[in-house]
């Protein structure tokens, strides 16, 4: 599967579980305002860039703002994530769905794309793709095939309410921290809120992320000769990816377009074959979705190093 796909796939859905208890927060987490708008509205807006079918699972009596989603209510009051997962997946139209809770303000679309792509990994089909972050499985930031619904129903009947039972039953791909860090170095995707203090911290983070970051591109070999410079400073949005940086580089150094970079019709630039990129002298990367951090150095060099 193409991890670069950024178009909305009809075969895939998203599920937001908003029915969880908010007892420690003292008010519904889905409605916490960010930039004056309830968090759930932000989540729906973000996920709709990838998924045309979004299902929100609310508690039996929960009221939510009007959103372009399919709204379902838990039939039985909160049964833990397995209940929400089961109802949510049943209501989706796609063959698989990305499932998230409603209290995570910093979802990273490139990382979600990657998770989806892992349903088919090295020729093996998986029913679940679940990240492992800080030694814990993250069932509410995972991808599930709709075909797991009967298993979830059995679990519910048997009152086995922990998602991990499912992972022991169906083919499950666990995504390692090293993989995650390529897209989300700080693990922002998993940052959720349980208390007022968490909410305040998230708001502070939200403000940081609206501040642009600086990165440096270091050019080697033919790229340096073509651009007639060895370094280019770039200012990028806080959540910029390698693809974004290359696009900005193409604007800053148009001479690179056509020889080192190619641009598609939408103006997105990528490296031509024969070139590769390394971040900070450490990791070689080609995936356009790789997230950059403030201060990163992007080395652009020949893919035929050595010789």
């Amino acid at each position: 599967m193409d991890t670069q796909a950024s178009t909305r796939s009809p075969a895939l859905s998203a599920v937001i579980l908003s029915g969880g208890k908010s007892s420690r927060m003292g008010r519904p987490k889905a409605l916490l305002p960010f930039d004056g708008k309830p968090l759930i509205a932000h989540l729906v807006q973000r996920l709709s860039q990838r998924f045309s079918d979004i299902v929100v699972v609310a508690a039996p009596d929960q009221t939510l703002p009007s959103l372009p989603v399919t709204l379902v209510h838990d039939t039985v009051a909160y049964q833990g994530p397995v209940g929400g997962l089961c109802y949510g997946l049943q209501a989706t139209r796609g063959t698989a769905a990305f499932v998230t809770s409603c209290d995570v303000p910093f979802l990273q679309l490139p990382f979600i794309d990657y998770l989806v792509s892992q349903l088919d990994h090295h020729g093996r089909d998986y029913d679940v793709v679940v990240p492992v972050w800080q030694d814990r499985l993250q069932p509410l930031h995972a991808v599930y095939r709709r075909s797991v619904v009967p298993h979830l129903q059995e679990q519910l009947a048997a009152q086995r309410l922990r998602p991990v039972y499912l992972y022991d039953t169906v083919p499950t791909r666990k995504v390692s921290p090293a993989e995650i860090k390529r897209f989300d170095p700080e693990g922002l995707s998993f940052l959720n809120m349980n208390t007022q203090a968490d909410y305040q911290a998230a708001l502070a983070q939200w403000r940081t992320l609206s501040v642009p970051i600086s990165c440096t591109v270091e050019l080697f070999g033919v790229a340096r000769l073509t651009a007639r410079t060895s370094r280019v400073a770039l200012t990028l949005s806080a959540e910029a990816t390698l693809g974004d940086a290359l696009t900005v580089l193409g604007v800053e150094c148009p001479a690179l377009l056509g020889s080192v970079l190619s641009a598609d019709e939408a103006g997105h630039a990528s490296l031509q074959s024969g070139y590769t990129c390394n971040i900070n002298g450490q990791d070689f990367v080609r995936d356009a979705h790789t997230r950059l951090r403030a201060g990163d150095s992007l080395l652009i060099l020949s893919s035929d190093a050595g010789g």
């Binding site: 070999g221 000769l225 074959s273 390394n278 990791d283």
Partner: protein
């Protein structure tokens, strides 16, 4: 027969006689030409245990099936012998018109044995061999020798001879002397010194034979595709800058060894970068015969001379010896070419001596003023090595032998594998390459495998060792063995869709024999098995597959890989994984079963 002549020429310098012999087609299909054919003939023609400088040690030149087909980058030949530097196989490649001429004299290989009583050169034509005196050429550089012989051997009709020759270093048996033709060198392993031991100054070739290919149309179609790709983005680095482009990248990635592998990166990396050479000074592009990539770069030194410069030379005299001025590096390169010295081993041995001087381990060095970065003292040592003068006599033995004379401390930082000095790849920050260097049959070599490719592509974590590296190195060695036996230049390697299928198709079209991708892969493995078998016969021991102590005890002190080291256990783990991938036993010995598998 298509693609091959099916015969070799045996020349005995002692008796001044020669004979032609058939080469079985089964041998040619099993090992192709180039390095494969050379290894196979060496195994059969070298008496077991023959000393490298003895008359018995054969000097073998091999041509290859793709030579003369018009396919880009294939004007190459191999020269194979028992190395005076390592005591194991030396298989060196060189290229250009000499390679084309070798095919024209109507043989797939020359096997030269014996030793001449007086300085001699050979003129080899389709009709046979003439043994000429070379007394008047003694002391001349390879280039001067080449010019003189070409002039002397030009026929009345103007037919030119093509010449490969040695310089002073070869005559004086410097263990890392080169053989040169048209400015190209069979550089590593001391082939030039074996020439010297045989009192053979040069080989001149003048032939008329042509080899037909089985399917001209198919060969032309493949040639056209590769020609087109050879000028595309995959080779832009070589075409625009040449191999000197490696320096700045390696420096940034913590993979450029400096000061005899004591450190990385290098303070003057920017000034010495290939990009700076190209931007700041006059540079000229050259290429081997029949090559569309043309990776060679000549840069003009301050004295106005144009000098060829490759990354390995730039590394060996720049960061490794600490020379910071680009012009001094060009002068060092020029001196090595003039005397016929392998630049990696020369730079490596001098860098080792500079550290001895630093540590006060070798009092005689004081007079030379040698220290890291002292360009004049370093340059002055090059002719001394070639003439075996003063401390140069010890340095002419290479760092391994020289270190045994100085003592254990000096041996601990003699940066060689099997006696061959390390090329410009920092093993601690390139773990796959570390393994490749340790197990390579010809010693610390960056050409007979491309193990560094895994490290530089992100395919593996280059800073960590693991048991997956053995299979990667074995596969890379097999790939290189096929490349070096067809022969195709390694800078064309990224231009194939699927290397084995494409070259199987090509070989079938050239020879009319059936080749498959799987079969060619097996050929690669067979060739590497053969090289190892030769080394085992010549006394290889498990401890020969190892790295210098410095790399296993000192983590890198700075750079992006600061603190990264390589432990003996990690190296052992990788070596065991390599033996396992090869199907050899835990001591690294080839099993009877493996020999049978390859019909060896």
């Amino acid at each position: 027969m298509y693609g091959f002549h099916g015969r070799l020429l045996r020349i005995d310098l002692t008796t001044q006689s020669y004979t032609w012999q058939d080469i079985e087609s089964s041998r040619l299909t099993a090992v192709l030409g180039g390095v494969g054919l050379g290894a196979s003939l060496l195994y059969d023609h070298a008496p077991p245990g023959a000393e490298p400088f003895s008359a018995d040690n054969p000097l073998i030149f091999t041509s290859a099936p793709l030579v003369g087909t018009g396919l880009t980058t294939t004007a190459k030949y191999a020269v194979v012998t028992k190395s005076p530097l390592t005591g194991f196989i030396a298989d060196s490649l060189s290229s250009s018109f000499f390679a084309l001429e070798l095919k024209r004299v109507g043989v797939d290989a020359l096997v030269i044995t014996g030793a001449a009583g007086q300085p001699t050169y050979l003129l080899i034509t389709d009709d046979g061999v003439e043994f000429r005196t070379a007394a008047h050429l003694t002391g001349l550089s390879a280039q001067e020798t080449e010019e003189r012989i070409r002039h002397a051997e030009r026929t009345e009709k103007g037919a030119e001879a093509r010449v490969a020759a040695i310089g002073r270093a070869g005559e004086n048996l410097v263990r890392f002397a080169t053989l040169s033709n048209e400015g190209r060198h069979a550089g590593r392993g001391g082939v030039g010194a074996v020439f010297g031991a045989k009192k053979l100054k040069a080989v001149a070739l003048r032939g008329h034979c042509r080899v037909a290919v089985a399917d001209t149309g198919a060969v032309e179609r493949i040639a056209a595709t590769l020609r087109e790709r050879s000028v595309g983005p995959q080779t832009a680095k070589y075409r625009e800058i040449g191999t000197v482009a490696n320096l700045a990248v390696f420096d940034r990635l913590g993979s450029l060894p400096t000061y005899n592998f004591q450190n990385t990166p290098f303070v003057q990396a920017e000034a010495l970068s290939g990009e700076s050479f190209v931007t700041n000074g006059f540079s000229q592009t050259h290429g081997c015969a029949a090559c569309t990539i043309r990776c060679e770069r000549l840069f003009r030194s301050l004295s106005g001379e144009a000098q060829r410069l490759e990354y390995e030379t730039l590394f060996a005299f720049g960061p490794l010896c600490g020379i910071e001025e680009p012009d001094a590096v060009l002068r060092a390169a020029r001196l090595c070419d003039r005397y016929g010295l392998d630049t990696i081993s020369t730079g490596g041995t001098i860098a080792w001596a500079a550290e001895c001087a630093d540590k006060g381990l070798w009092p005689e060095l004081r007079e030379t003023g040698l220290s890291f970065g002292n360009a004049e003292a370093i340059l002055a040592l090059i002719p001394d090595i070639a003439h075996r003068r003063g401390v140069g006599a010890a340095l002419a033995e290479g760092s391994r032998l020289a270190a045994t004379r100085i003592g254990a401390e000096a041996e601990s930082f003699a940066m060689h594998v099997k006696g061959m000095e390390l090329p410009g790849y920092e093993p601690r920050s390139l773990k796959t390459m570390a393994l490749g260097l340790a197990v390579s049959p010809r010693g610390a070599c960056h050409n007979r495998s491309g193990a560094y490719e895994a490290d530089f592509s992100g395919q593996v974590d280059r800073l960590q060792a693991d048991a997956g590296r053995g299979a990667l190195v074995a596969a890379s060695e097999d790939f290189s063995a096929v490349l070096d036996s067809l022969i195709v230049c390694k800078f064309l390697r990224k231009c194939f869709d699927d290397f084995y299928s494409d070259t199987a198709h090509l070989m079938s079209a050239v020879t009319g024999w059936d080749y498959t991708a799987a079969g060619l892969k097996q050929v690669g493995e067979r060739i590497n098995t053969l090289k190892k078998l030769f080394n085992m016969r010549e006394g290889w021991q498990p401890e020969d597959d190892w790295l210098p102590p410095r790399l296993l005890t000192e983590p890198l002190p700075s750079g992006v890989a600061q603190g990264v080291g390589l432990t003996p256990d990690e190296l052992r783990l990788m070596i065991q994984s390599y033996y396992a991938a090869r199907g050899w036993n835990e001591q690294g010995l080839i099993t009877e079963e493996k020999k049978r598998e390859f019909g060896l």
